[in-house]
Symmetry: C2
Subunit: 193 residues, 2 copies
DNA sequence: GTCTATACACAGATAGAC
DNA sequence: GTCTATCTGTGTATAGAC
């Protein structure tokens, strides 16, 4: 694997576990196997630039994953419960590590790192757009689809936090159940009968 | 105001804005007006102890606030939309600062600060318990109430992140709309007719 | 209980040999 | 493109005068 890719991947993992501020260049060097000088060679902007790349990469990966997971079932309602159940299983099996560095980092730096906030903004916008199209194809109106996707992403990110804090799958399973019910109700009114 | 209270209050504000790792003792001293030595005098455990206290205090404050806001309307569904609308207005008027230091800090330190994670766990448990009782009184079954409260708290925390990242009220308003609809559906099946 | 000075480790970043 | 040594600032924490 190329050096810059190894650095980005290591950064993603560190952001997941401990966030942006607590992650040091030295630690990144150890985790990636690349010496400090190499990091600055590949990323002129230093730590911030590496994090920027890591957010973009994670954002794109989750965009693919989300669409894949949601489309896995014929029934959209089952798809929602499936996504949350999968997340619950994964998060426990990783020892309650965060699944999404984007949410963690944005919560931490949105007020103090304009560049990273803007990168996260673009990532989230891409999720909302793709999700909205997905649920429009399922039969929801544009506004309903968009609202539901915001609730879905917010519910996922929030439930990640609760699940990690409580070391329990319950927050994810509960949020999935409620959002699945919500989608069922929206679909029922959208295509009555 | 007492010195230890000033320190705790300043820490809460700093945690909100920039999280735990990025907040230094020196910065806390400046923000609180108390010199470094006084911080260590009042909080033997240093930075971690101050953050611990700040989380407990914020948790208790939000417990009161949440119950107050939810009970403000006779109609529980209107209460949900009211909470999210209020949050949207407040978050914008503060320049997109985080409203809840608990979520931010937990996302950042859950894997690396066991003491703070445990403190946050207790705070969240207190929210879930109080919220569950509230919605049981509204007519939901115990399991439905508990699931809905998890979805509610997760939706709030997640929407805070999205709203700050996008500098938009839309995530909060959208999540509120969806969760209000979800509660309406749950109430309709709980007390038919 | 308040405040200053300081110890010691480590941060991010850079220069320059290889 | 890789790696080492190092610069400068800041981090947490403490000792001890007041």
């Amino acid at each position: 694997m190329r050096t810059d890719q190894r650095i980005t991947t290591a950064m993603t993992e560190l952001l997941r576990r401990q966030g942006y501020a607590a992650t040091g260049i030295q630690q990144l060097a150890e985790a990636s196997g690349a010496p400090v000088g190499s990091i600055y060679h590949h990323f002129k902007g230093g730590k911030r630039a590496v994090a920027h790349r890591a957010l973009e990469e994670s954002g794109a990966a989750y965009l693919e994953l989300l669409v894949l997971l949601l489309g896995r079932y014929d029934d959209p309602v089952a798809g929602i419960e499936g996504v949350f159940a999968d997340a619950a299983e994964t998060i426990e099996s990783t020892g309650w590590a965060n699944l999404c560095p984007v949410g963690t980092v944005l919560g931490e730096v949105a007020d103090v790192e304009p560049e990273l906030r803007a990168a996260g903004d673009r990532v989230i916008a891409s999720w909302i757009e793709a999700g909205t199209e997905h649920y429009e194809r399922c039969g929801l109106s544009g506004p309903d689809a968009r609202s539901f996707v915001y609730a879905l992403v917010a519910g996922l990110e929030g439930a990640f936090i609760l699940a990690r804090a409580q070391r329990s799958r319950e927050p994810l399973l509960a949020a999935g159940r409620v959002l699945a019910g919500s989608l069922a109700a929206l679909l029922a009114t959208a295509r009555p009968g």
